[in-house]
Structure formats: C-alpha cells, structure tokens
C-alpha cells in the first residue's frame, strides 16, 4: 500500500499543452505586474529611433558656409544663390577679406569657405577656365568630405547648365549614382541596425533575467522537481519575449516608414520571418547566459557587455567592417547582428528577395542550434 484510498493516484500522463499554457500565462503575469520594465521595453525602440534619427545623424543639413569674393559679378552671384538655396547649406558670411574668413573658421562660424578668383565671370566666359577654391574645416574629416562633395555637386550642376551642350572636345564625363539611397539618408543604414540591437537586447537579456530570477527565488528547484519538462520551462519563458520583440519590430517599421520616410521595398512577410529567426538566435544566447550565472545582476551585466558592445562595434551599422583590421573583420563574423543587419538591409532597402539572404539566414540558424546545444549541455551538467 503506497497511499490510502482517499489519495487518488496523481495523473500518470500529464498534459504538456496545458502545462505550457499555464506557464506562459504566469510569465505574462510577471511582465504585467512590472509595468515599469514593460514600459522600458516598449519605449526603447521609439527612443532609439529618435536618437539615431535626429540626434546622431551624420547627414548634414544647413551647414554654415562663407563666400570670399573680391569682385562680385553675375557668375559669383548666381553660384552663391544656388549654394544658399540648397538645403545642405546656410550662407553665414560673405566677405572680401581673407582675414575675416579665417576668423570665422576659428570661431566655428563657418564649416566651408568658397573662394572665387578675381574677374571670375570674365575668365569663365573668355578663357574657359575660372579658379574656384573650397576650404573646409577638416577637424572633423567626415563632415569636411561630405561638405566638399555637396558643394562640388552644386558647382558641377551650375557649370553644366551654363555651358549646356557646348562641351570641350575629348572630355570624360563622370556620372555618379547613389544606388538604393540617392539622397544618402542615414536612416537607411541605422534602422536595420537599431532593429537588430533592440531585438538582441530584449530577447537575450530579458529571457536570461527571467530564468535566473527563478533560480534566485528557489522556484526553479520546485519546477524541476515537478513533472514539467525542462524543455517546456524554457520555451514558456521565451514566448512572451518573442511576442514583445515582434511588437517592437512592428513599432520600428511603423515609425521608420511614417517619421523617417523609409521604404519597405521587399516582402514584409519575409522581414517578419527573418526577425523571428533572429529573435530565436537571441533567445538561445539568453539561455546560454542564464546557465552561466545564478544572479540577475550578472545576467544583466553579461548581456550588456557581451552583447550590446560587440553589436555596436562589430555589426557594421556604426562603423564599416571593410575599414577594420583583418582580425576584427574575422571576429565580426561571430556577431549575430551583423548577419541580421545585412538581411534587413537587403530586404528592406534594396528590395531583394530570399535569394539574397539565404546564406545569412543559414548562418543565423546554425548559430541558434549551436547556442541551444551548448545550453542543453550545460543545463544537464548542472543537474548531473
């Protein structure tokens, strides 16, 4: 006799689906009972897009420029007007004194100076060559280069218009096209980057914290001693964060298209499918982290230092990987966000299809299985 008649046998075959639903429901309750964290999770993508979209932009708008002209004439006036009319530039200084122009540079009043040589219009008309100098403040080399390019393009346009068809013989004409992003809008680059960063952070960090919390509370032991399969435990933990991350993907896509005029050129379904794949990679990473530590603090710290930093530096969305030393380039291959970044850029901005992203998708899938395998191994070793 194992137990008396008043104690019926516990059900021998436990319904997994019902356990799963019970567990997922409990996870959602945890999230709802902590509205502050929920708000942070939901607002994070909006804040990030706004920061990157409006504050950290490397586009140049309304840069202050100066004009140095000793003998104003028709041609210099027209060119000056064109530069001023462009949305890139704002005319802050017109002078005939080089000393004043230098002063303006030093006081940071202008970023670029256009110098016309004396007798500009006359030389242009009769000698076919007129000198024009662009001086840029190169303390910030990127800005200087961009300003020079913008000014150069405006001057080129003017020249084309005035000279029209009467071109010189034997001249090479260079035509540049900025493919996929003709206006060089920074959002085309950072939106896919921010998407990857946020999904990685939320999925990996929140999942690892949610699991480690059960260890801290000692509830993990009770759950392990129950008939619930560890696999179900882990999947149930992941479900709410998959849902939240997909909501975040939608938020990001929505603000990018409405606020930043970003196109979605490829298949929306495929974008969501790839996002789901990347979320799975992130969650398997979170599982690995949760196996390393028993403290929520540590899980948070590992997630931030181990995931956020490499993502910012090595995923290619802040710094071009091509310019890095070889070892860094090789290292960048193990950063999952790098592959997701390429995928989303190809799908969203370039409007390409599955044929352009299947390799990257396979890499992410491989990473996911690798992280999962390591997690299962370490998890079992803990118990053994």
């Amino acid at each position: 006799m194992r137990c008396s008649a008043s104690w019926p046998e516990a059900p021998s075959e436990v319904n997994n689906m019902k356990q799963f639903r019970t567990f997922v429901y409990k996870e959602f309750l945890h999230i709802i009972r902590d509205p502050k964290s929920l708000l942070i999770i939901m607002a994070l993508p909006i804040v990030q897009i706004i920061i990157f979209g409006f504050a950290l932009t490397n586009e140049i708008k309304n840069a202050d420029i100066g004009i140095l002209v000793t003998e104003p004439d028709e041609a210099t006036r027209q060119l000056t007007e064109r530069l001023d009319a462009s949305r890139y530039f704002n005319l802050a200084l017109v002078t005939d004194d080089m000393a004043e122009a230098e002063q303006a540079f030093r006081r940071d009043k202008i970023k670029l100076l256009v110098v016309f040589e004396p007798d500009f219009a006359h030389k242009l008309e009769h000698e076919h060559v007129a000198g024009l100098q662009l001086l840029a403040d190169a303390t910030d080399p990127n800005t200087a280069t961009t300003l020079r390019n913008y000014a150069g393009a405006i001057i080129q346009d003017y020249q084309q218009e005035v000279w029209g068809e009467q071109v010189l013989p034997n001249r090479m004409e260079v035509e540049t096209h900025m493919l996929y992003n003709p206006q060089l809008i920074g959002a085309y680059n950072f939106v896919p980057g921010v998407m990857g960063m946020i999904m990685l952070l939320i999925s990996a960090m929140m999942t690892s914290i949610a699991i480690v919390r059960e260890k801290e509370l000692n509830t993990m032991e009770v759950i392990l001693a129950s008939p619930l399969k560890p696999f179900l435990l882990i999947t149930s933990k992941a479900v709410p964060y998959v849902v939240l991350s997909l909501v975040n993907v939608s938020t990001i896509l929505l603000i990018s298209t409405t606020l930043l005029d970003l196109p979605i050129r490829g298949s929306l379904l495929l974008i969501y499918a790839e996002s789901f794949l990347f979320i799975s990679t992130a969650i398997s990473l979170g599982l690995m982290i949760s196996n390393i530590t028993d403290k929520q603090q540590t899980a948070l710290f590992i997630s931030l230092m181990g995931l956020l930093l490499p993502t910012l530096i090595l995923s290619g969305f802040m710094f071009p990987i091509e310019n890095m030393p070889k070892p860094m380039q090789v290292l960048s291959n193990i950063v999952p966000t790098k592959w997701f970044f390429i995928i989303i850029k190809n799908l969203m901005i370039k409007g390409l299809g599955w044929e352009s992203v299947w390799k990257q998708s396979l890499i992410l899938l491989g990473m996911t299985f690798f992280f999962l395998a390591v997690s299962v191994r370490t998890f079992k070793r803990r118990l053994a």
Binding site: R2, C3, P11, T22, L29, R33, L217, N218
Partner: protein, 245 residues
C-alpha cells in the same frame, strides 16, 4: 508494509568533497520521517537526489517504487516538494499561485477550481484570494507553500527546512498541519535543524558530515543516548563533526 523510500549506500561527491557518504535507510508509508542535521551536513543534497533533480555518484535509491537513476520523471509525478524559501511568486496573487502550481502538476481545470476553493477555505484565505503573495504574513506564505506542494495529492511530500525563519508559535501550527496531512496517509519526509521538531516525527535520522549516525524513534534515541532531549542527543553525536555551519 513495503517501504515507500528505499536508500542503499547513496553517495554524492562534488569533486573531492563527499557531501553525502554511503547513507542507507527506509521510509514507510504514512510516516513522518525527520531528516536531521546541522547546516552543511548533507541533508539538502540527499533530498535533491531523492526528488530526481540531482544524480547520485553511487548507491541505490527508489522513491514511490521508482529508481532515481532511470525513472526520475516518474518520481516527479508522485511527489511534492517545498523548498527552503517557500518558492511562491510574490508578484502573483494567492489564486494565481494556486492555479500555476495546480497547472504544472497537470490537474484538470475542473478540479483546479474545486481544489482552489477547498484550499482557500481550509487556510481561511478566501478573502485574500486576489491579494499579492508579497502582502501576506510569513506564516500564511508557509502554509500556502505547503498546501501547494501537496495540491496534486502526491504519495510523498519532501519538505526542505520548512520552518526556517519562522517564530515558535507559527512553527507549532505548521507542525499541526504536517501531522494532519500524515494522518491522511501521505508520507512526509522533512529536513530540519531544529532538534525540538524531532519530537513531532515518527522516526528521525541524524546526519553528521554526510553520514547517518543515528536512526530511530525519537524516544528510543533519547533512551539509547541517555539524554533528556533530542537536542542533547544531537550534541553528543555532533561532537565529532568536522564541518561547521
């Protein structure tokens, strides 16, 4: 009567440290079995092996008729477990905690409702059903945790230091609850380092440095060691202990 727990030379090593050193005992159906010892004596490690969440290094053990090596998953369907820190979710209400534990133990929905109502009545917690657990006094949390550990009516319930950090009156009430439960036929396996609690047990084992140094009825142990109380018995046995708290 066939024992409900059988343990033979059960051993667990962590590296070179032997936490549990060749322990052997049997627990009979319906008895309250006290598993006594100082902190660090190996009680929790032994218990974790019995509930199937830690693999033994060597030895044999069966719980509810199932082998701890090969049939740990079956064991889990026939036992309840209450861990040291009550393991309730503080940010969930009383009712939500009940639903969760009933759910992962696989109780059908209809019986969850019935059980929940009966449980709330029994604990006089009906008015607190929608209160967050963190707002409950410690004694109520303890009773709730115990009730949830046995909500699926297991054959055996394992209690790991269930009275830690609780005042003497609450402890006494809690032991009344344990005694009542045992009367219904459930086997209770309980660890504690409060020696006075041993008196509530049908039989006790005393663990020192990973080994079981004594095992009998509390009364017989007192007689055997010529002691007035279990505390004295324990002090006599613990004199040779190497591991300290």
């Amino acid at each position: 009567m066939k024992p409900v727990i059988t343990v033979r030379d059960l051993t667990r090593q962590f590296g070179t440290f032997t936490a549990v050193d060749h322990i052997s005992f049997e627990v009979h159906p319906g008895e309250i079995f006290g598993f006594l010892g100082a902190n660090g004596a190996g009680k929790t490690t032994a218990m974790k092996m019995l509930i199937g969440i830690l693999r033994p290094s060597s030895g044999e053990a069966s719980v509810a008729g199932f082998d701890v090596y090969r049939e740990a998953e079956h064991i889990k369907q026939h036992i309840g477990y209450m861990s040291q820190r009550f393991s309730l979710y503080e940010d969930l209400t009383v009712m939500e905690n009940i639903r969760f534990y009933a759910g992962i133990y696989g109780l059908p929905i209809t019986s969850i409702r019935k059980e929940a109502k009966a449980l709330l009545d029994r604990l006089e917690l009906t008015h607190e059903a929608n209160t967050l657990v963190k707002a409950l006094p410690l004694g109520w949390k303890q009773k709730l945790a115990f009730s949830l550990a046995i909500i699926h009516k297991p054959a055996i319930v394992f209690l790991d230091e269930p009275t830690g950090g609780v005042d003497p009156i609450t402890r006494r009430r809690f032991w009344e609850m344990i005694t009542e439960t045992a009367r219904t036929g459930m086997t209770v396996f309980v660890t504690t380092h409060y020696m006075d609690e041993a008196e509530y047990c049908d039989r006790v084992s005393i663990m020192v440095d990973g080994r079981i140094e004594a095992l009998d009825h509390p009364k017989k142990l007192r007689e055997q060691f010529g002691a007035q109380s279990m505390d004295e018995v324990f002090r006599i046995l613990a004199r040779g202990a190497v591991r300290s708290e």
